[in-house]
């Protein structure tokens, strides 16, 4: 069974990159293809919607779908991205707790392979939460 998971990332360092807590306004997406519990391929792409005037959520979902992702990982997911992800039919995953940031892409992939990630139904933050680098893991920085 093969899955391509899109993970919002702060840098273009592949598996070593730190996960971006924002989704629509993530700086990069790291696409990791996993087959039979093993990482097959890692690709990196800058998120074209990062500085969008509006609708970053839906644009970034279009982008990861065009890149062939069938699964998305999110820490904070806004309402527009949530609607788009639902329409896309993608599987949306998250962690159960965020008490020990930061997280690396590798860590998330390991947890995915171990089946530790949980599915995320709908948005978990209001719109524009990721716009101004204000919130980090749901807390004022």
């Amino acid at each position: 069974m093969m899955t391509t998971i899109a993970i919002p990332s702060i840098s273009g360092d592949g598996l070593d990159s730190e996960v971006d807590f924002r989704f629509g306004r993530a700086i990069f997406f790291t696409f990791v293809t996993v087959e039979d519990g093993k990482v097959k391929e890692v690709t990196i792409a800058a998120n074209p919607a990062m500085n969008a005037m509006g609708g970053a959520g839906s644009q970034s979902v279009s982008f990861i779908m065009e890149h062939g992702a069938d699964t998305a990982f999110a820490i904070q997911l806004g309402p527009n991205a949530a609607v788009a992800l639902k329409a896309s039919g993608a599987n949306v995953l998250t962690r159960t707790d965020f008490s020990s940031p930061p997280y690396t892409v590798k860590q998330i992939i390991d947890e995915f392979i171990e089946g530790k990630l949980v599915s995320l139904e709908g948005a978990n933050v209001p719109g524009h939460a990721g716009g101004m680098h204000r919130h980090r893991y749901g807390q004022e920085k």
Binding site: G55, Q59, P79, V83, G89
Partner: protein, 300 residues
């Protein structure tokens, strides 16, 4: 119609609605007046006029696309055309509307060649109207809480008011538009078709700061502006307002003194003018004298 006056000022709580309602009541003694409450997020004119806005408001709606998947050929032209990315489309599938992003431009419907998008309506607010007395007609816009299309509701309310003026058999003399605080697009919309803007401010740093923004907006709209200082003797901070008046060529046409009576009548929802008119001592009242000079300017 002789004049359309916009009552603005920038800062909240300076007395815009107080000035607008009392001016309308005073003018309506000898003239036909239409008072429009364009502060659609918090329309308070009717509280001061002691009128309830229950019952039959006319609902105002704005366009949102209705997608008919049976007709859709998934060509993607609507999703590509939408500048606000309000239509999300997967390959080979009909688009999905992300409603908060839609700005009602109707472009998606116009570019669709297979009639897969029709017009749907999303209610944004209501317009109320009533005759306060035989010479004073009131129009009020009230936005539904949480809606964002404030300028659209204001434009619709003002259009309905203008239509009523046009259809009326009796000539209207003045229209007074009471604006919301701030200098945002909703205020711009409310002031767009006025002849003159009266900026109600107060002698405080906040009043001066926000007044400047309204004067800038008035210049942007190419309108002449005048200043009304409310609670003018409340502080010593009158110089900065006078300076702004000179810098921006906006005459100070009234200095309404601080008055406990104004606040008490305001709190009771009564018109200070109506009370003194009934007692026949309105001529010498320090507050009403200032109103009389505003009316003089208005008629000039």
């Amino acid at each position: 119609m002789q004049k359309i006056i916009g009552i603005s000022g920038g800062k909240g709580g300076t007395g815009k609605t107080f000035v607008a309602t009392n001016l309308a009541i005073m003018l309506s003694e000898n003239h036909r007046v239409l008072l429009a409450d364009a502060d659609v997020e918090n329309p308070n004119v009717s509280i001061l006029l002691n009128e309830k806005l229950d019952g039959n408001g006319q609902v105002v709606s704005s366009f949102i696309p209705k997608i008919i998947p049976e007709n859709c050929v998934a060509c993607g032209s609507c999703a590509n055309a939408c500048r606000y990315h309000a239509l999300f489309q997967m390959k080979m599938k009909a688009p999905v509307l992300i409603e908060p992003l839609c700005r009602s431009c109707e472009l998606c419907m116009k570019v669709c060649k297979v009639s897969a998008i029709t017009s749907d309506q999303h209610a944004i607010g209501e317009v109320f109207t009533y005759e306060k007395d035989s010479n004073l007609t009131v129009y009020v816009g009230r936005l539904f809480p949480g809606e964002t299309k404030t300028p659209r509701l204001i434009a619709e309310m003002l259009q309905k008011a203008r239509d009523a003026i046009e259809k009326s058999t009796k000539e209207y003399d003045y229209m007074i538009v009471d604006c919301a605080p701030g200098a945002h697009c909703d205020v711009e919309k409310a002031l767009k078709d006025t002849d003159e803007i009266y900026c109600v401010t107060e002698p405080t740093p906040l009043g001066a700061h926000d007044l400047k923004r309204i004067l800038e907006l008035a210049r942007f709209l190419n309108k002449s502006a005048k200043i009304i200082i409310n609670r003018a003797d409340m502080t010593e901070y009158i110089k900065p307002i006078e300076q702004l008046s000179v810098e921006w060529g906006a005459d100070i046409i009234a200095r309404i003194p601080l008055s406990r009576e104004v606040m008490e009548t305001y709190a009771r929802g009564e018109s200070i003018y109506a009370i003194h008119k009934a007692a026949n001592d309105d001529q010498d009242h320090p507050v009403l004298k200032e109103f009389a000079s505003i009316i003089k300017v208005m008629k000039s």
